[in-house]
Amino acid sequence: MTPAATRNYFELFQLPAMFQLDLDQLDSHYREIQARVHPDKAAHLSDTEKRLFLQWATFANEAYRTLKLPLERARYLLRIHGVDTREEDNTAMPAEFLLEQIEWREELQEALALRSQPALDRLALRLRTEMDSLFGSLATLLDVEQRHPAAADLVRQLAFLEKLGRDLDQAQAVLED
């Protein structure tokens, strides 16, 4: 019996399949499960059991990571509802959003050119606020209105912003070193 065949991530942690998730509960349920299935608990058991513990612990880690990260959680929820976000081939975005992206990118380049840590910090804060607000809308679309195609559009936009956030992190690392 392989873990993947038996249940989805929400069922594994006995949590409602919602975007708005009690993260403390997720943490504590993850730990309860891991305390039962971690390979360290099978060190003195048979090879069959060792393999089984490894599979389950791997599954629990993947499930936890997916549900903990909001964008991954949204993608996973959409997949459960049969909606593919098609981020590789669907790059259609509202023109307004794309313009905004260009502006963000320009500001990032400027801050880097000036080697200005405060400018990067301000940019990071604005990005955080923008993403929080979009995640708020995403929660409504997924949990209240159940508008999955619209939610998929928003996930694609958030993926752009998350990439920008990673590049910002990278820029901050460059300035620090």
Partner: protein, 620 residues
């Protein structure tokens, strides 16, 4: 045959205690510890010393000295006396810094470095195995019986090849490895259990040759590594070299012989250690040509000489904090590990960086071995249920080579272990039945700037038109940070055969050959060893199966129970004999027969894990 099932609630008869040890296989020193009457103890040699210098000397007649006995050969026979061999584990010639005074003769071989000695060619794995054997013998002498297994520590920032090399060394030394444990995590276990610590801690571990920083969250028996970073080629040794280089500049000694280099380095280390207590010290060494080197070294000068080294440790600290998404104010305490953290310049730099004095209440030399011993005791099953959980991470990203020599990341660094990712590949030629996958480790975008781990040849793909085959390759990294690759063609369901060519490691054939070689020069006999190993394995399997049946036998039908009990009966009989292959066959059969049962138990365990917790929540 009658099966013994204890009554519910009745106390199980006391099990014989199984002997397990924790081993800190260090660059300069190694230690072995165990848990005795619930207390961790570091084991001493016959002279009452706990540190074993990680030095190995090969005699022409194949005799091998380890530790203090080997150390006396350092200056007189440096080419056959290996110090700091940990630096060479899983490393090729190109990875090593050119350094004056390296006395070893490297064999001209691809992959991991090999040394030419008067006793033949040896690899760093074999040298490390000698150190592990000495520790195993110390433990057996001290505990009075053969060991069930060991936890061996490795630097958190060790890559796959270095971890595999360590595990191979243990295998060669005849040790059953329960787990490779990251040194900072081991220290956190020792510290956390000792001090009942809760919160986010940083472990700053500067050993003889490696530097690690781990950020851990400690909550009610759970040790969760949030991020780790480090420098696998930075340690106390480099501080010795800083003094050594300064001496050469000061005295104008042109290029010392290998023996003199060892003398000067030894004196440099002693001076460094004295400077941790004193503001200034006298440096004294007599060279082979009669010259006496005599200099005064002050702590101020030493601090200037080593300033760049101290700074080099802080970049990984910043990276680890960033990866953990934390800032300095989130860190509740900083635990210092490794003898090199006794240096005042390190303590000062750490205190300034973290804006708090570091915690130094545990012996930085012993804390890793103690943590490993505690974990070994838990893994061997000597504790009953109330033990802790370690959640560690992979230190470096794993990727595969794609078009144009680019590395595509498959498993990002700091992913919690165990972790697995699957990737689909297709063929590019009609009828193609094989493909090659190059796995690399590192953070850079170019394959050439990452470390090559292995090339996997997939064979047996059913012939189809180009692009039609869907080969799903699964990369599984276990709790030790070791990689396993499996592959299956999705349309036909055919499993591909995988041939692994490790870039810097040994393949299974090498290991077998080395084990056989080692028996040519020893009294012990390889068949006896195999038999001993299979008997231990069989006893463990019987015990585990009995415990499983006693606990969850109710999950089985009468027929299913009969199959398992029969398998146990067969194994019990064969284990009395002396045919190791027959024992292995019976054990495999019992494993096979219990597969379904194990799956059902797991399912049951997971279901009750959360219901159990809900009951508790209701009670609050």
């Amino acid at each position: 045959m009658l099966l013994q099932i204890s009554e519910p609630g009745a106390k199980a008869p006391a099990k014989p205690r199984r002997l397990a040890v924790g081993i800190d296989l260090g660059t300069t020193h190694s230690l072995v510890a165990t848990v005795r009457e619930d207390r961790p103890v570091v084991l001493e040699d016959a002279q009452g010393r706990v540190l074993l210098p990680s030095v190995v000397h090969y005699h022409a007649d194949h005799r091998v000295d380890v530790g203090y006995e080997a150390g006396v050969w350092q200056s007189d026979d440096p080419a056959n006396t290996f110090v700091s061999v940990k630096r060479y584990m899983g490393r090729g010639r190109d990875d090593l810094p050119e350094r004056t005074g390296t006395p070893y003769r490297f064999a001209d071989t691809p992959g991991m470095v090999q040394f030419e000695t008067q006793a033949g060619t040896v690899s760093p794995v074999q040298v490390s195995a000698e150190i592990l054997k000495a520790l195993r013998e110390r433990a057996v002498r001290s505990l009075g019986d053969e060991l069930t297994g060991a936890v061996i520590t490795v630097p958190a920032y060790f890559d796959e090849a270095q971890r595999q090399a360590t595990k191979d060394a243990a295998k060669l030394a005849g040790l059953e490895v329960f787990r490779l444990l990251n040194e900072p995590t081991a220290a956190a276990v020792a510290y956390g259990l000792d001090q009942e610590a809760e919160g986010v801690y940083a472990v700053y571990d500067l050993g003889g040759g490696t530097f690690d920083i781990s950020i851990l969250k400690l909550t009610r028996g759970i040790f969760e590594v949030l991020a780790t970073n480090g420098d696998p080629a930075l340690g106390g040794d480099d501080f010795d070299y800083a003094i050594y280089d300064w001496l050469l500049r000061e005295t104008g000694i042109p290029s010392p012989t290998a023996g003199d280099a060892r003398r000067l380095l030894g004196a440099a280390r002693a001076a460094k250690e004295r400077l941790s207590e004193l503001p200034r010290t006298q440096f004294n060494a007599a060279l082979s040509n009669g010259t006496v080197v005599d200099r005064t070294l002050s702590r101020e000068t030493f601090d200037v000489l080593t300033e760049a080294l101290v700074k080099r440790t802080l970049a990984p600290v910043r990276k680890a904090l960033r990866d953990a998404g934390l800032s300095i104010k989130d860190i509740k305490g900083v635990v210092l590990v490794g003898g090199a953290t006794r240096m005042p310049c390190i303590r000062k730099a750490v205190a300034e960086f973290f804006q708090q004095p570091p915690l130094t209440n545990l012996d930085p030399d012993k804390v890793v071995a103690i943590g490993a011993a505690l974990q070994a005791n838990a893994l061997v099953g000597n504790r009953a249920g109330d033990d802790w959980l370690l959640l560690d991470v992979i230190p470096l990203s794993l990727g595969i080579e794609t078009m144009g020599g680019l590395a595509e990341k498959i498993i990002p660094r700091n992913s919690t272990l165990p972790v697995a990712r699957a990737q689909e590949f297709t063929t590019w030629k009609d009828g193609q039945t094989a493909m090659s996958i190059h796995v690399v480790q590192g953070e850079r975008e170019l394959v050439s700037e990452c470390r090559s781990l292995a090339r996997f040849e997939l064979r047996g793909i059913p012939p189809m038109v180009a692009g039609a085959a869907r080969v799903r390759v699964t990369f599984q990294v276990d709790a030790d940070g070791l990689l396993n690759v499996s592959a299956a063609e999705q349309i036909s369901g055919v499993e591909s055969k995988i041939e692994v060519k490790p870039s810097y490691g040994l393949n299974d054939g090498d290991i077998t050959r080395m084990i056989e070689d080692s028996y040519r020069h020893a009294q012990d006999d390889i068949v006896a060893r195999r038999l001993r190993e299979q008997k231990v394995e069989a006893a463990r399997l019987i015990e585990a199966t009995e415990a499983a049946l006693a606990e969850d036998g109710g999950l089985l039908s009468a027929d299913e129970l009969a199959v398992i009990t029969q398998g146990m009966g067969v194994l019990r009989e064969t284990v009395e004999g002396s045919d190791w292959e027959a024992i292995k066959k019976a054990a495999d059969a019992l494993n096979e027969a219990s597969t379904e049962f194990a799956g059902r138990r797991m399912d049951y365990s997971i279901k009750t894990a959360l219901t159990g917790q809900k009951l508790e929540e209701l009670r609050v």
